[in-house]
Amino acid sequence: MDLKLSPFPTLEKQMPIEHGRFEAYVDNGGTVLAVGGPDYCVIAGDTRMSDGGYGIQTRKYTKIFQLTDKCVLATSGMQADTLALQKRLKTMLSHYQKEHGKPMSTPAIAQFLSNTLYYKRFFPYYTFNIVAGIDEKGEGCAWTYDAVGSHERVKYASQGSGNQLVIPLLDNQVAKFNQQIIAGGNVTSQQAVSFVKDAITSAGERDIYTGDYADIVVVDKDGVHWEKFELKLD
């Protein structure tokens, strides 16, 4: 049998040297997560915006966007697409508000976002979203998406560059997977906030695209409450 040794790149693997070819997508990184409670929802997102490589463009760009008094959108991925998506949703929601005389409900926004993403599936928004807030019954709720609009309603979610670091933590601490003794009782929003802070701090430990500061947002019946939280600047 012939051995094929190729310690150096073979001819077909040699790529022509390309100088500054246009790349329409950039990944600006960042981590967002959401945890829904019985009558609240906690959403967190770091505020680092990377340049697609090792560089940090800015340390204070918020990834969380308030859609209504009961709903926020947390997005990681490409900042330019994120902004376009936010602006689009903002416009459509203000139209809805004027025509119907009330803001769109959170589940309706969740479906609407899916439609918006799917509509652009052949040139997708490079965005990874979480819609979170409280629904018509006042219960905390969250939806996660892929870039082309597949979505699922969940109790907790995380997206972005630190997703892999955060999601096992949430599985263990929120869903209580594989735990022998499950502590009873409802988690208060203060407890959820402190847990979410730990989660995003953990992501910041290992993920180079997550850090600087975090927005911690609590959505409850009284509206949307913002808090700034410091992460590592390294």
Partner: protein, 247 residues
């Protein structure tokens, strides 16, 4: 029904230099329920008289929110007004999308007036049969504008349109110099009093059912006050003192 020559076609002038269809459209504005607009330094408000076709029906909407910083009151064909309101909302959200700031009131009014004008020059169309009072607040302050089916628009300190609006104008002309420094509440009471002038004595007068108030100003997004929310202001109207107390 009388008929003039040069009546049916909006693209033909009469020998006296008039376009009758446009003038008839302006006439439609005068048939609608009255609407009053007035402003102080920090606020612009709209006060309007709603009508219902019968006791069994609801009252026709007269005041529309266009954006957070601008709203309109209408007189004439409500259906036409809804089209124009939609157009204005679109222009506002387009501007907001591109510049992340609110469109200046004068520019918005210019756009909607241009749309009016376009419909006075095409064959086979008709002018809009509605007049708008536009109240808004932007970086240049509070503004009141009136538009006509002809495509003209006017900037006012205060104005009224619609049926018997002359009586309201008379009231406004008497008091407009005081408006500048009015509080929002005083301004609304002035508006209601002006509007009251347009109601024939035989009628029931102003009540929470037939009044709609639109307010906008500094740190005050456009808001429509009607039904039970209008009652406190109507109560103020009963008690004439606060307005007369003006310096």
């Amino acid at each position: 029904m009388y008929r003039n020559h040069y009546d049916s076609d909006i693209t033909t002038f009469s020998p006296s230099g008039r376009i009758h269809q446009i003038e008839y459209a302006m006439e439609a504005v005068k048939q609608g329920g009255a609407a009053v607009a007035l402003k102080s330094k920090k606020f612009a408000i709209l006060v309007s008289l709603k009508r219902s076709s019968s006791d069994l029906g609801s009252y026709q909407k007269k005041v529309f929110q266009v954006d957070d910083h601008v709203g309109i009151a209408i007189s004439g064909l409500t259906a036409d007004a809804r089209m124009l309101c939609n157009y204005m909302r679109n222009e506002c959200s387009n501007y907001d999308y591109v510049y992340e700031s609110k469109i200046r009131i004068e520019r918005l009014v210019t756009k909607v007036a241009d749309k009016h004008q376009l419909h006075t020059q095409g064959y086979g169309g008709r002018p809009y049969g509605v007049g708008l009072l536009v109240a808004g607040y932007d970086q240049l302050g509070a503004h009141i504008y009136q538009t006509c089916p002809s495509g003209n628009f006017y900037n006012y300190k205060s104005i009224s349109i619609g049926s018997r609006s002359q009586s309201a104008k008379t009231y406004l002309e008497k008091y407009f110099e005081q408006f500048e420094d009015c509080s929002l509440e005083q301004l609304i009471v002035h508006g209601l009093r002006a509007l009251r002038e347009t109601i024939p004595n035989s009628d029931t007068g102003l009540n929470s059912k037939n009044v709609a108030i639109g307010i906008v100003g500094e740190n005050q997004p456009f808001k429509i006050i009607e039904e039970e929310n209008a009652q406190p202001y109507l109560n103020l109207l009963e008690n004439e003192e606060p307005v007369e107390m003006q310096i």
